[in-house]
Amino acid sequence: MTATTESHHNPRLLSRRLRSSEGVIVESFSVRREPGRVAVAGELDLAAAPQLADALASFDGEGPVTVDLAETTFVDSRGLATLVAAHHRLGGQLRVVNVRPEVRRVFEITKLDDVLLRDA
């Protein structure tokens, strides 16, 4: 965790910054919370899933919520589990839109495409 800093200047933008191999700070993941909507950018992996969980937790009791993955390039099983957990808590009122082809594959293999994915 030493190479990361949280972005505090905008409380609605939870971002995560890492040093790339060249030592440059690069944005690797961000969650933007809007009314009824969360836009996720970057790699939704083990490291990033807790930030998405926090953003989704803030909607508790006020669904429906749309998760926009247009800028998401990677989703692992922790990312999927975060979406599934929020889907449960929101009584099924969570939908995932704008999934890239390379990310759609993991939804299809796990059969979560039928549960979570909707046309934008």
């Binding site: 965790m1 190479a3 990361t4 890492l18 690797s28 790699e43 992996d45 083990l46 490291a47 990677f74 692992d76 099983s77 922790r78 999927l80 589990a81 599934v84 957990a85 889907h87 449960h88 390379e102 594959r105 993991v106 293999i109 796990t110 059969k111 979560l112 039928d114 549960v115």
Partner: protein, 320 residues
């Protein structure tokens, strides 16, 4: 525990046949009996055998679901999940189902045959309370004697020369659950080694694996699979071991990209990663995804030690 596998309601039978004619002589009556009783039938064999069987079955072939072993069972560790899906599909209708699966062929390398035996052994555990019928053809003319001996040890029933009998060499469920201890091929000196101990260093490690995949010509889809599988294996290390420390090794040969994750954990459940998690599960997808997306997964585990080695094709096209 300690129960003989023949006490199960799952009918797991090895067909010990010789040559293409022997295959048809054993498989056609089994499939036809299922069709005549309106039982769902699935057949997972290679394409040549599927063609021969289709021709021999005639009109009955239309009632059979064929799947290509080269696709479904390239990694034999995903076959239990395939059969579980098939059995569950008809479980509510309470109809008996039957399958034919031939994962063991002379085309398999010795490393694959170890994992095929593991699969055959674990079928007995996975389906011990599930009534369905699976026939596993073994070509005694083409396979080595020790492979046939493994078939006799892992199948409660044998069909040989047209006669059914209980296998006298059948191992107990406890014996069948024992993980393989066959050593993995040694790591080459040129392997890239990346240690990880937290979520950020794991991300660095999986990026290294994806970079290696691209560098050796893996397709974009395979490269994404490498990225995901290494991430899942490393996530298991971080979440499920005491130290959370692991080592990724990446190397290749002419045909495959290999990735291996080592840690100090112990994977105690022999069926871990082999059964599809419920669609709404919050855990248990990682190792299952690794089985689904890799071309072979070799797990070696014991007290305080786990090694998971996966390989991916350098030459497969994205359409396959």
């Amino acid at each position: 525990m300690g129960r003989l596998a023949t006490d199960q309601v799952f009918r797991h039978e090895a067909l010990l046949y010789g040559g293409p004619d022997g295959f048809l002589a054993g498989v056609v009556p089994f499939v036809r009996a299922g069709v005549e009783h309106a039982e769902p039938v699935a057949v997972v064999v290679d394409r040549a055998k599927a063609s021969a069987l289709t021709a021999a079955l005639g009109d009955d072939a239309a009632h059979v679901r064929f799947a290509d072993m080269e696709v479904v069972g390239r990694n034999p560790g995903r076959l239990i999940s395939f059969w579980d899906d098939f059995v569950r599909e008809f479980a509510r209708a309470e109809r008996p189902v039957r399958g034919v699966g031939e994962p063991v062929t002379p085309a398999r390398g010795s490393d694959e045959l170890v994992e095929c035996y593991r699969h055959e052994a674990l079928l007995n555990l996975a389906f011990q309370d599930c009534p369905w019928s699976l026939l596993c053809p073994y070509d005694v003319d083409a396979l080595a004697a020790d492979v046939i001996a493994d078939a006799r040890a892992s199948h409660p029933l044998l069909l040989e020369h047209g006669a059914h009998r209980r296998s006298p060499e059948l191992r107990t469920l406890d014996e069948l659950a024992v993980p393989p201890d066959t050593p993995l091929d040694p790591l080459p000196a040129a392997a890239e080694v990346v240690a990880f101990d937290d979520r950020d260093s794991l991300r660095t490690a999986r990026h290294a694996a994806a970079r290696a995949a691209r560098a050796v010509g893996c397709t974009p889809t395979v490269t994404n699979d490498v990225d995901l599988v290494v991430g899942e294996l490393g996530a298991n290390t971080i979440r499920h071991t005491t130290s959370g420390r692991g080592t990724l090794c990446v190397w290749h040969d002419a045909e495959w990209l290999f990735c291996e994750v080592r840690d100090r954990g112990w994977i105690g459940d022999p069926l871990a990663g082999r059964v599809r998690p419920p669609v709404d599960a919050l855990n248990g997808r990682g190792l299952w995804l690794a089985h689904q997306l890799s071309d072979l997964l070799q797990l070696r585990t014991g007290a305080g030690r786990s090694v998971v080695r996966v390989r991916f094709s350098r030459t497969a096209s994205d359409s396959s």
